[in-house]
């Protein structure tokens, strides 16, 4: 078994006639914090959907934990947090506790009830994102940032080894974005969860990420965050134009 948790080998994808991804080669090592950056329409979300098995690649191969995706069954190892805005109905009458418990649906197995059996796991996950005072509140009563923390709790309650986040800070107010990333860092460093984060706000995450992938239908850069520092100035402005915020990769200001 390879030590890469996610591998994409020459992956292609197109919607009807529009080629969205061309020959993507990407390998995510265990324990990494990978940021996937790129302008709108660059295929970032499509790539995540291929990794999650929501879409099927048209050429090439996706491997999860060393297994071809068609043979992969241990989906509880992979947690997913989608863009909040289009993911759910805010009027849904469910409590924070119920939402987090729903993250165990697959792990518990068919015909099993989760809310009592996994009580301590659910409480732990809610605590890990600092939402313990809200567990009996309806999800619709919370702020955007709080809702997103609940969705993280739902994604980590099954104790996944990889957490995939698709622009999780869309709709989260600016002052809470930093707290949100601090929490992600804890998940990465303390729990050893591999993180794949699609994002625009590279400025905020920069001192925590270990790897960067720059996508614009093809992969323009894929490597460690340090190497990315070296190339970004000459290379990237041409591809991304004004759409990308410059990444300030400065380890010295890491006080949390």
């Amino acid at each position: 078994m390879s030590h890469h948790v996610i591998e994409l080998i020459n992956v292609n994808y197109r919607y009807d006639k529009e080629q969205v991804l061309t020959d993507i080669n990407l390998a995510v090592p265990e324990g990494a914090f990978l940021a996937v950056v790129g302008p709108n329409g660059s295929g970032k979300s499509t790539m995540l959907k291929l990794i999650l098995g929501l879409l099927k690649s048209k050429g090439g191969e996706v491997k999860l934990f060393g297994k071809p995706i068609s043979k992969f069954r241990e989906w509880e190892k992979i947690g997913y947090v989608s863009q909040k805005a289009n993911a759910f109905n805010t009027g849904f009458p469910a409590t924070v506790y119920e939402v987090v418990a729903s993250g165990l649906t697959k792990k518990a197995g068919l015909f099993k009830r989760v809310e009592r059996k996994y009580k301590s796991e659910i409480i732990d996950a809610i605590q890990a994102v600092g939402m313990q005072d809200f567990s009996n509140r309806n999800i619709g009563e919370l702020s955007g940032g709080q809702q997103q923390r609940v969705f993280i709790a739902r994604a980590i309650v099954s104790r996944p080894q990889v957490l995939i986040l698709d622009e999780p800070t869309v709709g989260v107010d600016a002052k809470n974005v930093q707290t949100f990333y601090d929490m992600l860092e804890r998940l990465n460093v303390e729990l050893g969860i591999t993180l794949v984060l699609v994002t625009h706000d590279t400025g905020t995450v920069s001192n925590k990420i270990t790897h960067v992938a720059c996508l614009n239908n093809t992969l323009h850069f894929h490597g460690s965050a340090e190497d990315f520092e070296q190339v970004k100035d000459q290379d990237l402005s041409a591809f991304y134009g004004h759409d990308i915020q410059t990444i300030h990769h400065d380890h010295s200001h890491g006080v949390h």
């Binding site: 849904f92 649906t105 309806n138």
Partner: protein, 280 residues
Amino acid sequence: MLEAIFTYEFLQNAFAAGILIGLIAPLLGAFIVVRRLSLIADALSHVTLSGIAASLFLSKTFVMFNGLNPLWLGMGFSVAGSLLIERLRAVYKHYQELAIPILLSGGIGVGVIFISLADGFNTDLFSYLFGSVSAVGRSDLYLITGIAVIVLLVVFLLYKELFLLSFDEEFGKASGLSTKALHLIFMVMTALVIAASMRIVGILLVSSLMTLPVAAAMRLAKGFKQTIGLSVLFGEIAVIVGLISAFYLDLAPGGTIVVSSIIILLAAIGYRNWFAVKKS
């Protein structure tokens, strides 16, 4: 009233059937409402009408169909309709709500043809349209009980899967849930509940028992389980009050049940608003 229930078998049937659908219609209704499928339930009930009309026509015209309970054909049409809706929603990916008017008008259209063929309206059909206190027979009750057992069992066993499907289908898919199969099971269950409920509330008002108690519960409940619990409570109150008043006032129970549900709904909205004002 109690005395009447012990005396008349038809009343026993009506109340037993009423209590069963007061349980299963709001139970499934809670999922239907949060999945925004209320109108689909309405469309399906109209398809059920064409099944009932077809059955009434067949039993009138052919001797061999004489003893056939129209509920069977109604149920068959309703289940077929639920599968057809899924096909239509796949065909019109960007206009999924088109499936609703297509089935709604199609159901009534086919129904009206059979009604005309069978020589028009009679009291029997009226009882299917708006419900009846006196028309629930033993065979109806057995069928309704069977449907109730199936629905309760499926919701109990697949509760967390149905919750996830309703709350966040994409997350369900990403965690390996077979949402397509689950959705199909759900639609078939909806069709079954509609077939079961129409004897009491009537085809045209079936969807009210699936949506009004849930709408009231959502104003008051914390969480989804509580929403289901309150929906069932409100549904049962509406059915029992509706049946009693229908019996004494000699009205169609569909009407009295819907009016009771609306009173409960208004009370829930009023209570919530009053409570909100008091708090602030």
